[in-house]
């Protein structure tokens, strides 16, 4: 009895440094953000209690609400594209697993994960500029009339930012899915082949269901990346042109540090957290059920 008791204490002791860090640097800011969201405060002077006003403004001001819609549009690029593409690439790489090409492909695809997002943003803003590689390629194949400043055009800026995100995340998804594939029992494939299944049937009957958990992780990580995006947008467009790429993360930053509306920034941050949880928890549940 006493041994068990002291063991529990020891356990807490070991966990203490991490717990304290978590409390001070995660829980405390989180709680403070919730508190600030009920005040009208410029970050320096005295503050006034405004109740839920910061939240109602969030949903009544079309400009702020638009940022949330933009974030959902980004999910398409940050989440859907990388996961689908990742599945395809991983299946292909697995097919040539023994060759040297597979190694090279893996490395090349994972490279964007190693590069800091800021560097990726700068590089892509060069590629997508009016004199950049993207436009030169278009001109070279006779599509010169399509050329434009991709990040400076109202119609293409948000998709262009999405493409940067997809480029960054496709490698992560591929690697995760590839790792998942290596865990699948080869006997399954063999028996499927004996039953006369082709590669497509194999993919849908064996690979895809076995990867349920990995796909869940990919979708979760990428949805969070889309909803909480900041770096890529800040570097490539800063929310422009004309707010067409303004996302919640950037809006929070502008509200807090340029408009000095700490209360409204906090309210948007709280809504963003809730939104992320609302999107991610169902995904978690769906994939967990499948594994048991």
């Amino acid at each position: 009895m006493t041994r068990r008791h002291s063991g529990a204490w020891l356990g807490w002791l070991f966990a203490a440094p991490a717990a304290v860090m978590y409390a001070v640097f995660v829980l405390r800011p989180l709680a403070l953000t919730v508190q600030y969201s009920f005040y009208d405060w410029n970050g320096i002077g005295a503050s006034t209690w405004v109740g839920l006003e910061n939240y109602t403004r969030l949903f009544t001001e079309p400009e702020q609400f638009a940022t949330i819609l933009h974030a959902f549009e980004l999910i398409l690029f940050f989440s859907l594209v990388p996961v689908l593409l990742g599945l395809f690439v991983a299946a292909t790489i697995r097919g040539i697993a023994q060759s040297r090409l597979a190694m090279v492909a893996r490395t090349v695809l994972f490279l964007p994960q190693v590069i800091p997002l800021v560097a990726a943003g700068i590089m892509w803003s060069w590629l997508l500029s009016s004199t950049g590689l993207a436009n030169e390629l278009l001109s070279a194949v006779g599509l010169g009339r399509l050329t434009r400043a991709w990040l400076g055009d109202f119609g293409t800026a948000l998709p262009a930012v999405g493409v940067i995100g997809a480029w960054v995340l496709v490698g992560l998804c591929t690697l995760l899915l590839l790792a998942g594939m290596s865990k699948i029992d080869p006997a399954l494939y063999e028996s499927a082949r004996l039953d006369g299944a082709g590669p497509v049937r194999e993919f849908f009957a064996i690979t895809l269901p076995s990867l349920r958990q990995e796909i869940g992780v990919c979708v979760t990580v990428t949805i969070i990346a889309a909803l909480a995006s900041f770096d890529i947008v800040y570097i490539s467009t800063q929310g422009g042109p004309g707010n067409s790429t303004m996302v919640p993360g950037l809006e929070i930053f502008y509200l807090a540090f340029s408009e000095r509306e700490v209360g409204r920034a906090s309210a948007l941050a709280v809504v963003l957290v809730i939104l992320v949880l609302a999107c991610v928890l169902p995904v978690q549940r769906f994939t967990r059920d499948g594994s048991r």
Binding site: G43, G240, G242
Partner: protein, 440 residues
Amino acid sequence: MAALACAGLLAATACSAPGSDSDTPDTAGSTGAVATTCGSDPVTLKGYFETGFPLPKQLSDEFTKQFPNVKWEVREDQFAVITQNAPRVLADDPPDLMRLPQVSELVKDSLLKPLDGYAQAYGWDKWPASQLEQMRVNPDGRRGDGPLQAQGLNFSMTGVFYNKKLAAQVGMTQPPATLADLDAVLQKAKEAGLTPIDQFNGGATGGLAFPLQNLMASYGDPAAINDWIFQKPGATIDTPSNLRAAQHLEKWIKAGYFASDINSQDYATMMSRFIGGKALFMFNGDWESGNLDKQMAGNAGFFLMPSQAAGGKQAAMSAPLTYGISAKATHADCAAFFLNWVATDQKARDIAVTVGGSHPMGPSDAYMPAVKEGTVTAATLTAGATIGKDNGAMDFIANATGAIYAKSWTPQLQKLAAGQQTPAALLKSVQKDYESQVKG
């Protein structure tokens, strides 16, 4: 609800309303006695300067040469970062001397040391009033009059820079005398296959504010624009003459006088294209004069935005390179002594012109360094005299409130450039944001 959140909080967090615990430094007793010297004891001045502009560094080095007991501890950031950091830095890590954005909101929070005591002691109040008015803030938070809250290292002049070679190519032998003349040159440049104007307007920096405000001053009274910038009661940007200016800008956009990709261009891209001879005109300020004299020696020219009628009054955006002293600064007296030295010391005034490219602060009859004929620096300094004579100095419309540039002018001007906004709706929208920001 908040109580609930607080209950869940760790004891470490006090649950009082945010900000209420900040101590307010005494900023009222500014007219008391001040020391007009750095003394002879060793002093280390804490400076917070802007990256990319060598002027403050060169001035501080020269200052240390003349007053060896003063050393510097300098931190540098880009202007956008300084703008975002200013309140927190002034409150928590007070510098003795700091590059400042628009000061009215900093004054509201009592973060700056009022300089009236120094102004009296050093005689700054005898300088031309227009030099300091942008840094005066009255107790209501409006700029233009009231106690002096900051000082300049020099004051800038804006207008139109042009490429002399390209100008000759389209037959422009002298600066346009009227707005109609300028329109004609733009049209000729367009027909000659040149890019008539390159102007940054991408990201969070709506550079079309430069030509727009110049056009506003061509069509209307610069004093009315200043009233709006200084937040005078009842001032509006949505006036008939400003509408005509915005329509004129739209006409330029629709005529294709601007580079087609201005909405993705940042300031640096514009500079490198202009220096590379890719555009005839650029709207900018004399902080680039020194740079252009070096990189386009003899090939860069400058003129003030022409008025409607030949010989009419001209106006330009002109603002001091604002530096202030934190209300909590340790060596405020020495920092003020430095600011006075910058405006009055002969060597410092040389540096202000040759390195900074702009006109030094100080009395109008003060020493002026000789500048080589035909340089951009000479042209911008001469322009400064014209603006002084016409009383045409304006602050920037981007400085009206802390957020008006990033949140209103920039997105609205980007929409205008893309043909997604009308001039009338642009002005209405900016005015609406302005009113809510001034009130808030």
